[in-house]
Symmetry: C2
Subunit: 131 residues, 2 copies
């Protein structure tokens, strides 16, 4: 496997990843493409994503819930997740960047582009919905 071919399946997978930026499981991509490509197989999705990772178009990470794939150019995006009401609040990248930069200044190159912090929103704190 030295040369990489841009097959119909891989084009479709890339298109689909552009349509849904951010981390995605192989099966999520597969499920959505399956509608228009009923003969597509999940192993092709896995192999294509690894192939796309080889040529630097896709990143692969295991963030603790199975492999997730992401287009290399996706914008960093972060969230605060409320354990009380399950609200998902945006966390501005500008707020995260200095923290990441500080860590990177000592040699560790951070790949995390989707940070999730868990806790309690102000409404749930007032309701006493924490610890």
């Amino acid at each position: 496997m030295n040369k990489h071919r841009m097959t119909f399946q891989r084009k479709k997978i890339l298109d689909e990843m552009r349509r849904y930026p951010g981390h995605q499981a192989a099966e999520a991509i597969y499920d959505r493409l399956k509608a228009e490509m009923p003969e597509l197989s999940l192993s092709t999705v896995y192999r294509s994503l690894k192939g796309l990772a080889d040529i630097g178009q896709v990143s692969i990470s295991d963030l603790g819930d199975g492999l997730v794939f992401e287009l290399i150019n996706s914008e960093p995006h972060h969230h605060l997740v409320c354990l009380g009401c399950h609200a998902v609040l945006p966390l501005d990248n500008a707020e995260v960047t200095p923290f990441f930069k500080q860590i990177e200044s000592r040699g560790f190159k951070i790949a995390t582009t989707h940070l999730c912090l868990y806790g309690y929103c102000s409404a749930c704190q007032e309701k006493g919905l924490f610890q």
Copy 2:
């Protein structure tokens, strides 16, 4: 499952975790205990660790290479996980606290006590093991 019993197996598992502090896979604990408890089963190790997590003695995380279990020490502790070599590097709480404090200053109370950031250690960056 409302009450938790401190069985022989769970005592041994706790002892073993005290002997090897830090993140451990269930199978690693199982393999070591198997020597002196040949009848021990891996499912008992998994269930005991989940039981110990229920009563707050053990934490469970998935750092990208399967579940790992760790004795709880009340201190928040954070890690940098290398996607290249799976090294787990400590991230000092003092470095994380100001970032958390800043977010909390706007009303969101963070409950996350074990932050994991994924990326590439300096050795893997040199090897080109990223992107």
